[in-house]
């Protein structure tokens, strides 16, 4: 919202010497965020009043003329101009070299220089309104018209900014910070805050006394829940002439385009007290005003030409026959102020905010009126608006008469009275404060306060009573913000040392991520909780079994992930564009239909589990499988959980038929890993790369209470280390070898397996290293031979043959 300080000064005298920066800061800290402050005159620097003394044809161009212009600098300036309305003696806006203008009213501003135009020197520019962004104030009849400043008093060379009354400060207020303060959507509300901040009196708005014995204009409210008050004022003897300059300028500075005096006055009232109003042409309104819901099939064409097909929940302003306005949002084209209006019905009404917002948002209409009405205004404000409007009409149309009046007022905004205990206030603020001080802070804001020594009774003004302030805590906030949050000294909170924070599951989740990222070279990724159908199906999951969003980001991503595998596939595909070998992981929640009640019986949530998933991309699928298995094998140690067991129990749909294992912790299957199946790769669009993936339920990892390392005494005598190369049947797994030797040696380590030349079909060569020794002495050659023979025997029992 734009706030003009000149307008504010109608209601409060700001302190002398108050800088714009200080004012912006004070308002930001205590009330609303000021995003910027500009002087509109700054935009016109270098543009001066010039009087055209002489006009001669341009020797080279029919459309151009050469003017001699008095710009108050001794010799007149020679300026080439194509303006269609220039004449000798004309007062014009002249941009002298250095000024910024918008060329032909379009594009970025450019800087004027003395130059030659078709061979004739030109020492400036005679401006059209569009070139100075002033087309709303100086509407042009045709494209070649320049601004005519005939009505302004000034001497050649005077800067036109001050001459036109542009000297002002316009504050840009962040609308978001005004959301809960309907009282601040007009200048009077902001003036009240400033009067409280600077301890300056707030001036009164005009008074209004309804003349006695006026006829009642018929206003019927069918739905008083949605229209607590509707005042209709009929003025005769008005017309649609342009507004006086001061009014045009005031609206323009506040960001609203002047139209004509009748429309402008309704906008002025809104910008002044925050109360939207609307004018109807009485000659077009049939008999009376009825406030009612739309009837099935009714339509309305709005002022801007947009046709609406109305719904029964839309609140309408109607005459005896049909809707004439969408209540609180926008008037209809047929019955609002027209060029020939001479009698106006001025509507000043209060509407229930939720309905206004619903209609405005369903039709996607954001008018200044709707923005204010949907915030929730107090009914009492209608009185202020009537008074301001009536005074302004008298000023604009001295001949106009108020000929009929109706104030249909079924429901008044209730103003709560709040009890506030002083000791409570002092504790919560963390600052000492007397009841008198508290009252002094609240009164300038419009609160009526009575108090004893230890409690205050705070009566809330109507403009803060529409949901803004109804609790002692709200009063506390008023006091705190007016004191200024930065004026409270920091009080260190007291801490009770009742024990160290101990959260094994939190620690496990963190160790898990740190282990993967920092110790095993995986990159953590974040993805979205909604998944793409393509990757869902690639992972062998059915969208029909997934939870879905009512309004998804896109039709393809309507489903909430029941697994992280689709996201791993998608992320892998994305990165395969740039990398060949990489490892990624994500730890996040997955969702499946079901029933969980984490907080209370009434609330049933679906099943939500924290999963971990990883993907390894590379070229050799068997190697990727082993790398992934290695990461998983070392994981329990790193995260301090019960060990993991790998078995084939239940093949995940996305896994290769040969290369997969389930992950068990305790007796529970908590996940799986394996190479991505060729089908999953094809459906995902993975080409020329192999991928291994894993997924497990993090909540299935059982955290150990502390470290579980076991100490083994160091060997007293040297161990014997021996490598074996063994020919085995393809069907004999490594685990069989390890199991066979388990217990008879100190350690057994796999080195490599080999298939190829010298190895018969159906066989493989497996190389491993064993260590053995004695606790009673260094082993003798005989003892060693004996041990070797026993190992060889065990291998033979497996059908193996020792090659070395």
């Amino acid at each position: 919202m734009k706030v003009s300080l000149n307008w504010i000064r109608r209601y409060v005298d700001l302190p002398d010497g108050l800088s714009t920066d200080q004012l912006s800061h004070d308002l930001t800290m205590r009330t609303v965020e000021v995003e910027g402050a500009v002087n509109p005159a700054d935009g016109l620097s270098g543009v001066v009043l010039g009087i055209i003394n002489d006009i001669t044809p341009h020797p080279q161009a029919d459309m151009l003329r050469v003017c001699l212009v008095d710009i108050g600098q001794g010799n007149p300036a020679t300026i080439v101009c194509g303006g269609s309305n220039i004449h000798v003696g004309m007062k014009a806006a002249v941009a002298i070299p250095g000024a910024q203008v918008r060329w032909h009213g379009e594009g970025e501003p450019v800087t004027i220089k003395a130059t030659k135009l078709r061979g004739v020197k030109s020492e400036g520019m005679i401006c059209a309104a569009g070139e100075l962004d002033l087309q709303d104030l100086f509407p042009a009849e045709d494209d070649h018209e320049v601004m005519d400043l005939e009505v302004f008093e000034g001497r050649p060379g005077d800067a036109i900014g001050p001459l036109l009354g542009f000297d002002d400060i316009i504050l840009e207020i962040d609308n978001k910070s005004l959301t809960n303060r309907p009282d601040l959507w007009g200048h009077y509300g902001i003036a009240r805050e400033l009067s409280a901040i600077y301890h300056r009196p707030l001036k009164h708005l005009p008074d209004f006394r309804k003349p006695d014995a006026l006829p009642r204009y018929p206003v019927e409210i069918e739905n008083p829940q949605r229209c607590p008050r509707y005042a209709g004022l009929v003025y005769e003897g008005v017309n649609s002439a342009p507004s006086p300059w001061w009014l045009k300028l005031a609206l323009w500075k506040a960001g609203i385009r002047p139209i004509n005096a009748l429309v402008d006055l309704t906008n002025f009232v809104m910008l002044d007290v925050g109360q939207p109003t609307h004018g109807f042409d009485k000659d077009h309104v049939q008999e009376k005003v009825i406030v009612r819901n739309a009837r099935p099939g009714e339509t309305l064409t709005l002022l801007d030409g947009q046709p609406l097909i109305l719904a029964p929940e839309d609140l309408m302003i109607c005459d005896a026959t049909e809707p004439i306005a969408l209540a609180g949002v926008m008037g209809g084209a047929k019955d609002s102020i027209l060029a020939d209006t001479t009698t106006m019905i001025l509507e000043i009404a209060n509407f229930e905010p939720i309905g206004i917002r619903r209609s405005a948002s369903r039709f996607q209409i954001r008018t200044e009126s709707a923005i204010r009405n949907e915030k929730g205004l107090d009914t009492q404000r209608v009185d202020q608006a009537i008074a301001v409007a009536n005074a302004l009409i008298k000023e604009l149309f001295p001949q106009a008469r108020l000929t009929a009046f109706n104030d249909n007022y079924p429901q008044k905004t209730q103003c709560p009275i709040i009890q506030v205990k002083l000791d409570w206030l002092v504790t919560r603020l963390g600052r000492s404060l007397s009841a008198e001080e508290a009252a002094d802070i609240l009164r300038p804001l419009g609160f009526a306060v009575t108090h004893g020594n230890d409690a205050l009774q705070v009566s809330v003004p109507s403009w803060r009573a529409t949901g803004d302030i109804d609790l002692p805590d709200d009063v506390l906030e008023e006091i705190a913000r007016m004191v200024g949050y930065n004026h409270f000294s920091f009080i260190p909170p007291k801490v009770l040392l009742t024990g160290a924070v101990r959260q094994p599951d939190v620690r496990l989740a963190r160790r898990l991520r740190e282990y993967l990222a920092l110790e095993t070279g995986l990159q953590e990724v974040y993805t979205y909780p909604w998944v793409n159908r393509r990757f869902l199906e690639a992972a062998g999951l059915s969208p029909a079994n997934c939870l879905a969003l009512a309004t998804p980001p896109s039709p393809d991503t309507a489903w909430l992930r029941p697994s992280l595998i689709p996201a791993m596939l998608e992320s892998t595909v994305l990165n395969l564009r740039y990398f060949e070998d990489f490892r990624i992981f994500e730890c996040a929640q997955v969702f499946t239909p079901g029933a969980a009640r984490p907080s209370e019986e009434a609330e049933t949530l679906p099943l939500q589990k924290r999963f971990l998933a990883a993907a390894f991309a590379g070229h050799d699928p068997a190697l990727l499988f082993r790398q992934l298995k290695g990461v998983l094998q070392a994981l329990p140690r790193a995260v301090m959980s019960e060990p993991l067991i790998f078995e084939q129990k239940d093949k995940p749909a996305w896994a290769d038929p040969k290369a997969w294992l389930n992950i068990l912790c305790g007796s529970e299957v908590i996940g799986s890993f394996g190479v991505i199946s060729l089908k999953a790769a094809r459906l995902s669009g993975i080409k020329r790369a192999s991928v291994a993936a894993m997924e497990l339920n993090v909540e299935g990892l059982l955290p150990l209470p502390s470290r579980s390392n076991i100490y083994h005494r160091l060997p007293l005598f040297p161990l014997v280390e021996q490598d074996f190369s063994v020919l085995l049947d393809e069907k004999t797994p490594w685990q069989a070898v390890a199991d066979a030797l388990e217990g008879s040696v100190r350690s057994i380590d796999f080195i490599e397996e080999y298939r190829g030349k010298q190895i018969p079909e159906g066989k493989k060569s497996v190389m491993f290293r064993v260590r053995f020794g004695s606790d009673t002495g260094t082993m003798t050659a005989e003892q060693i031979d004996e041990k070797m023979n026993s190992i060889i025997k065990k291998i033979k029992k497996l059908g193996g043959e020792v090659r070395n």
Partner: protein
């Protein structure tokens, strides 16, 4: 002859000491001690001497041989010690071989930094499920029944619950704050905990807006907690994130679930408060809302607002991480693009 031996010794020791390579030393050894070496030749002449002379000259000759040999050996060792294990040349400008390293997501990194700081202040870390109900997302938090945030334009409601209300209407959590009520219901007060996690809102995305974003919330609930104490949490967060003291200011702000509510700004780190593009020429950057939990929120958690109060802050980590590193597009955080994420090792 003895003089010749002495002078040969001096000459050989001198040359050995000056030798620069193993080859040179070998040459010297041959020249003096070899089969046709100078010392050997002298010894061959011993036969011509009388026995006593021969014995003494022989002894001297052996001493000379030992001395030369020793000098050569010393020099040999010295040359080895001074030498290099690198054969040939080494290019010292070649890049180092990187360790096989991954990284935590930059938002996880910041989250953990903050967890560490808050843990040292006795805060717990709390996690709640991402699907919640209207009851916890809005009703408990004092959002009016028709608050715009409840619209489908703002919140991701789950399909199949469109007609439901309150505890029966489900959505992806639009903020973390609802989880605070769950925590307080379960654990009671006093309480101090942080609560990090992703939240989701139905928005149009661009470089500055995302549908998924990571929030970090901290809450203290104590008896009669003055809001001036809440600054502890603000300072902790910002100093941890930016690694130094950051000037902050609290100003009036409105959020349904706090009363009083603040906007907390920090002085722009780019311009130091002078005003620049980053801070939109204001000198301050809005970083987080905060405030005292609204009495209705405490009531929803089963706590008596006459007794309990506290302080709450909620900061969007996406934006802080963007500021910390100068990231110019928020969508990069959830793009899983290793070209981006790999920069945060």
């Amino acid at each position: 002859m003895r003089e010749r031996l002495e002078s040969l010794k001096r000459e050989a020791v001198l040359r050995a000491g000056a030798a620069g390579t193993a080859e040179e030393l070998l040459d010297i050894r041959h020249q003096y001690l070899g089969k046709k070496g100078a010392i050997t030749l002298v010894l061959k002449e011993l036969g011509r001497l009388d026995p006593e002379e021969r014995r003494q000259t022989g002894m001297l000759a052996n001493e000379v041989k030992d001395a030369i040999s020793l000098a050569l050996t010393h020099r040999e060792e010295a040359l080895v010690d001074e030498g290099s294990s690198i054969h040939g040349e080494i290019d010292l400008t070649l890049p180092g071989i990187p360790p096989a390293s991954g990284a935590l997501h930059p938002i996880t990194q910041m989250c953990y930094d903050l967890n560490d700081a808050f843990l040292s202040l006795g805060f717990e870390v709390y996690q709640e499920d991402e699907i919640t109900s209207e009851l916890y997302a809005f009703d408990n938090l004092n959002f009016p029944p028709d608050h715009p945030a409840r619209d489908t334009m703002d919140t991701y409601w789950l399909k199949g619950f469109e007609e439901d209300k309150g505890a029966r209407r489900l959505c992806l959590r639009p903020h973390l704050t609802g989880g605070s009520v769950r925590y307080l219901k379960k654990h009671g007060a006093p309480a101090r905990f942080v609560y990090p996690g992703p939240c989701y809102r139905n928005e149009n995305t661009d470089a500055r807006h995302e549908r998924a974003f990571f929030q970090y919330e901290a809450l203290i609930v104590e008896k009669g907690f003055p809001f001036a104490s809440g600054q502890l949490m603000i300072r902790t967060i910002l100093e941890k994130v930016f690694g130094r003291k950051v000037d902050t200011r609290m100003r009036a702000g409105f959020f349904p679930f706090v009363e009083p509510g603040f906007e907390i700004d920090m002085k722009c780190l780019v311009c130091g408060g002078e005003g620049c593009k980053v801070c939109k020429h204001v000198g301050w950057i809005e970083v987080m809302p905060g405030g005292t939990p609204h009495p209705n929120v405490l009531r929803a958690a089963g706590l008596d607002p006459e007794i309990w109060s506290g302080f709450y802050i909620n900061v969007g980590l996406d934006r802080l991480v963007m500021m910390r590193y100068g990231v110019d597009d928020v969508r990069l955080f959830r793009g899983a693009d290793l070209r981006f994420l790999g920069q945060f090792r």
